[in-house]
Point group: C2
Chain length 237, copies 2
Amino acid sequence: MNDHIVKSFDQDLAELDRLVAEMGGLAENLLADAFSALERRDPGLAERAIASDRTIDLLERQIQERAIVMIARRQPLANDLRHVMTVLKIASDLERIGDLAKNIAKRAMAVSGDNRPRQLINGLGHMCELAHQQLKDVLDALGTRDIAKALAVWHGDQRLDDLYNSVFRELLTYMMEDPRNIGLCTHLLFGAKNIERIGDHTTNIAENVHYLVTGTMLTDDRPKGEEAAPVLFGAAN
Amino acid sequence: MNDHIVKSFDQDLAELDRLVAEMGGLAENLLADAFSALERRDPGLAERAIASDRTIDLLERQIQERAIVMIARRQPLANDLRHVMTVLKIASDLERIGDLAKNIAKRAMAVSGDNRPRQLINGLGHMCELAHQQLKDVLDALGTRDIAKALAVWHGDQRLDDLYNSVFRELLTYMMEDPRNIGLCTHLLFGAKNIERIGDHTTNIAENVHYLVTGTMLTDDRPKGEEAAPVLFGAAN
């Protein structure tokens, strides 16, 4: 392999990194817009947010295609190959985050005509803010290869899980108090679950940033497994 | 590349296929056990089902490691590379199916002490049966490279989505009728959502079987996007 090819491979990697950063920025905006749409009951904003997920999906496909071409043409050795595979995993998590944020936007459309008290939505608002901050931080950590920041995000997911459990319980009480809240609260329950899962994918990205920089995996004991059942009625988690 | 190496690559591919089939069988059993545990309120069975997901995760990691080694050592050309990438995608969908089925088992544990009427669980039972059959069919299609069967699964996901929408509405009515149903029904709502998503991953596998056999992608317009919000109160989907 001569210098020219080595340099080109690095350029290809840099281009992959740029595309992933672009995906990340779009996912961050989508999440922010989805919650604004829910909060303001703004179906127009929800619709624009939903449409933007398409671009995220296309970017992921573009990253996958480029990665396959890179692997096939350049035949990178194990280390570079693992770098490419890690970028693919990060892109896949961002694509899932986009999907989940899009679902929140869809729920915003579904409830835009609902006039139940605004108070019901506050808990979800806190979750969104925290999830958005975590996503922003992990993208910064990725851009600057900052392990400390990635680790902080990884640990921070526990707060989001705790908040999810509180919001979950709170929503159940609204449902029990007044059956007219059940429709809206069901949407909010699913929205809260989506945000909790966005947190899990953000945690995955933090693990992969750590792997990119250090070459070693974080332990398997993540702050919390994806899609865990909520603690409810004292039952096992 | 000499014959010996070419033959070994095919052997490697066959071994990957075998591992994926093993994952598929485990995911199928996990789904069946998770629902039995929910139906019989059997926390012991739920616990065994949850534990079996660990094996599925380990198999996926094993498949990923082997695939990376295959790509790095054999440096396959574009077609073989796409085959390996497709197997990786199928393994990733099976891993997600395992996770989602595990969540149903976790909910089975959470509600095992609940004594609400059994009738509430019937809709979810139908969904489980259908999702299980779809998963079984797509694994058969994968094993026998049967495009017609893969396409039937792909189209069949619509029935599961329709059933999800019915069950969703039915569960809401139970919640509105009697607040004591809210706790159990919330678990069942999430369970139904998990099964709907299992259907989406099964659909992904059907697309990848089609791709493996024909080399062409099915259209992007899948029967239904993953994680779509349910139709509710006449709102947009």
